[in-house]
Amino acid sequence: MLQAVNEALHLEMARDNRVVVLGQDVARNGGVFRATEGLFEKFGEDRVVDTPLSEGVIVGAAVGLAMSGLVPVAEIQFLGFSYQAMHQVAGQVARLRYRSQGRFEPAITIRSPFGGGVRTPELHSDSLEGQLANIPGLKVVMPATASDAKGLLSASIRDPDPVLFLEPLRGYRGIKGDVPDNEHLVPLGEARMARQGDDLVVIAWSYLVEVACRVSDALADEGLSVAVLDLRCLVPLDLAAIAAAVDHCGRVVVVEEASQTGGFAGEVVATIVEECFWSLEAPVVRVSGLDVPYPVGMVEDVFVPDEARITAAVRRTLETA
C-alpha cells in the first residue's frame, strides 16, 4: 500500500505542477515511512518541502498556498499529532470555501497515517475519523487496498474540496495487492463490496476491511455467507451502497478501530435505521475500540477489534432470531 501511495504522489506531481508536498521529513528523508520517497529528487526543493516541527503551520500554510492557487498535499506524520493542528483543520481548511463564499478553492489534501497494531509510542495510533467526519466541508477518505490507496489518493489530490486522506499504519506493509501501473482514479463517495455474501454484512473501512475479509473467508468454510462492505469514504458517504447491502442481508455488524462513543460506526448505524430499518432481521451490532485513550503496546491488542471479536459479533448476530 505504501508503494501505491508513493506512485500516486509521483503521478499527480508530474501531471499538475501546481501540486506541492509539505510536511516533516517529507523531502530529504522521503517521509518516515518512505511514502514521499523520490519526490524531492524528482521535483525539487520548491515543490517538496521539509517544514519545521509545526503541525499548525503545516496545515495553516497549506490554506495560504491554496489561496494562491496551488494544490498543497500536506503530511501530518501521525494522525494523533493533528490535535496540534485541529484549529486549522476544523476552523480554517474546512471552512475556507464557505467563509469566502466560493472565492477561495481549498484544493488541499492532508495525508496522515493512523491506527494501531504496530506497537507505536503514545498518540501515534489514534483513529480520529469520527471527529473529522463531524466537520462540515471536509472529505474523509480511508482506503483499504493498495489499488484504492492509489486511485483514491489521485482523486483526492484532484478534488477541489479539502480531503483528509487517512492511511492505515498496519496497511503500509501489511496490505498487498495489484495496483494499476498508470493513471488510476477511484471516485470519492463510492463504497465497494469487498466480499459478496447473503447472510450478514460487515461494514468496515481502512485496515479493518482486511480483517473483516479474513473473518468472512474463515466463516465461508462453515457455510456462512458473510458480505464485507468497504466504505472507502466516510464523507461523502455512499448511502445507497449501505442500504443495498442491508436490504440484501438483513443482518449487520459495523466495525471501527476508534473508541465507540460518538464514533463513526454510530453514524453508520443511524444511517441504516433511517434508510432501511424494515430490512433488519436482527439488532445492528458495533465492534469498536474501547472507550479509553489508545493504549500502550502490551495491551493494544485488547483495544483494536480483531478477528475473534468480529467473528463473535457475527455469530451472535446470525444467531439472533
Binding site: 506541492v20 515543490r47 509545526s54 500554510a61 495560504g64 498556498l65 489561496m67 494562491s68 476552523g91 463564499q101
Partner: protein, 333 residues
C-alpha cells in the same frame, strides 16, 4: 526611508476620518439592533489606513483580523458594502470579488497568520510580485499560530509583513498580563527577522515602516514584524463595557493622542487641511455608508443560501437537506 507625500497624507487622513464617522454610524445601528456584534475601529485608524496606503492594491494582499475593514477601502470600494453585509449577517458578506486583495475577516485570533505565510510562499513559487500584510493584535501575539508562522516565514524568507496592532488591550487583559517581553517586536529575533516598534498614532511613521518592510520583501529579503503601538479608544466590541477595566485617566491621556487629531493638526499647520475639507469628507463617507447599507439590506438571500459553498458538489446528505429548505416544488425542478 520614504515619507508619504502631502497628497498621500491627505488621502490617509481622509480614509481615517471616513472610517471614524462610519464606525460611529455602525455603532449606532448596532444599538438600534440593525447590525450584529462588531469591533469598532476607534484609535486604530492611522495604523490601518497608513498601512493600506503603503501597499499596492494591484499586487499586495491584506489578511485582516476583524477590526480593520473601514480603513481598508483603498483596496476596493466593495470592501464597505461587503463589511456591511457581514455585519447584518448576510452570507455574501465574506465574499470579496477576485480583484479585491483582501481576505475575509478572521474571528479566530491569529489563525490568519499561517495563511499569510502560505499565500506569500505560493505567490513566490508562482513568480507573482507582491507582499502579504497580515494584521493581528497584541493578544494574538500569545497564540501558537503567531510563533509557528513567524518561525516558518523566517525560514522561507517569504514576503510577509506581520503587522501587530498593539492597542494595549485584549478585551480586558492589559499588555503586561499578555507578555513579559519588553516589546512584541522583540519576538522577531526568535524568527530571524527584523522587528520594529512604531508609534501607531503617527500615520507617517507607520507608512514609512510598512514602505520599508515592503521594499525589503520585494527585494527578496524576507519578512518583517512591525508593532504599531497605539491605544484602543473604544470598546473591544459592541458587547463590551470597557469602563469596568480601562482606567479613566489612562483613556483620557490616550484621547489626547488621538491619531486623527494629530495628523489633522499637522496638515492644518501645513495649510493642507481645513474644517471645510474635514466636513466634506465626513459627509461623503456617511453618504457612501448609507448607500452601501441600503444596498446591503436590499441584497436577497436564496432560501437555500445557507448550504451554498460548503463543498463544490452537495453530498447526498446535503442535497437532501437543501431540498428540505427549498420545499417540494423547487426540489423537483
Amino acid at each position: 526611508m520614504a515619507q508619504p507625500s502631502d497628497d498621500q497624507l491627505q488621502a490617509i487622513l481622509g480614509d481615517m476620518v471616513g472610517a471614524r464617522v462610519q464606525a460611529q454610524r455602525l455603532w449606532n445601528l448596532q444599538r438600534q439592533g440593525q447590525v450584529g456584534t462588531l469591533a469598532p475601529i476607534d484609535g486604530h485608524e492611522a495604523a490601518i489606513a497608513a498601512t493600506a496606503h503603503a501597499l499596492n492594491p494591484e499586487q499586495d494582499w491584506i489578511l485582516p483580523q476583524y477590526r480593520e475593514p473601514l480603513a481598508l477601502q483603498r483596496f476596493g470600494s466593495e470592501v464597505l458594502y461587503r463589511y456591511l453585509l457581514y455585519n447584518i449577517g448576510h452570507p455574501a458578506g465574506s465574499h470579496l470579488p477576485p480583484t479585491v486583495r483582501v481576505a475575509p475577516l478572521q474571528i479566530s485570533l491569529a489563525t490568519q497568520i499561517p495563511h499569510a505565510v502560505g499565500l506569500a510562499w505560493g505567490m513566490t513559487l508562482q513568480n507573482q510580485p507582491g507582499v502579504v500584510t497580515v494584521f493581528f493584535g497584541d493578544g494574538s501575539s500569545s497564540e501558537g499560530d503567531f510563533y509557528e508562522a513567524g518561525n516558518l516565514a523566517g525560514l522561507l524568507g517569504v514576503p510577509v509583513i506581520f503587522l501587530c496592532i498593539n492597542n494595549q488591550w485584549a478585551i480586558s487583559t492589559p499588555l503586561h498580563l499578555q507578555t513579559a517581553a519588553e516589546t512584541i517586536a522583540a519576538k522577531a529575533a526568535a524568527f530571524g527577522m527584523p522587528g520594529l516598534t512604531v508609534d501607531g498614532n503617527d500615520a507617517a511613521a507607520v507608512y514609512d515602516a510598512v514602505d520599508e518592510a515592503r521594499s525589503r520583501a520585494l527585494a527578496g529579503q524576507g519578512p518583517t514584524l512591525i508593532e504599531a503601538v497605539l491605544y484602543r479608544l473604544g470598546a473591544h466590541t459592541t458587547a463590551d463595557d470597557p469602563t469596568r477595566y480601562v482606567p479613566a485617566e489612562e483613556l483620557e491621556a490616550a484621547r489626547r493622542n488621538d491619531p486623527i487629531d494629530r495628523l489633522r493638526a499637522h496638515l492644518v499647520e501645513q495649510d493642507l487641511w481645513d474644517e471645510e475639507t474635514h466636513a466634506d469628507i465626513e459627509a461623503e463617507a456617511l453618504a457612501r455608508f448609507d448607500e452601501a447599507f441600503d444596498e446591503a439590506r436590499a441584497t436577497p438571500i436564496a432560501p437555500d443560501a445557507v448550504v451554498d459553498h460548503c463543498t463544490t458538489v452537495d453530498s447526498q446528505r446535503l442535497a437532501r437537506q437543501r431540498s428540505l429548505l427549498l420545499g417540494p416544488e423547487e426540489a423537483e425542478s
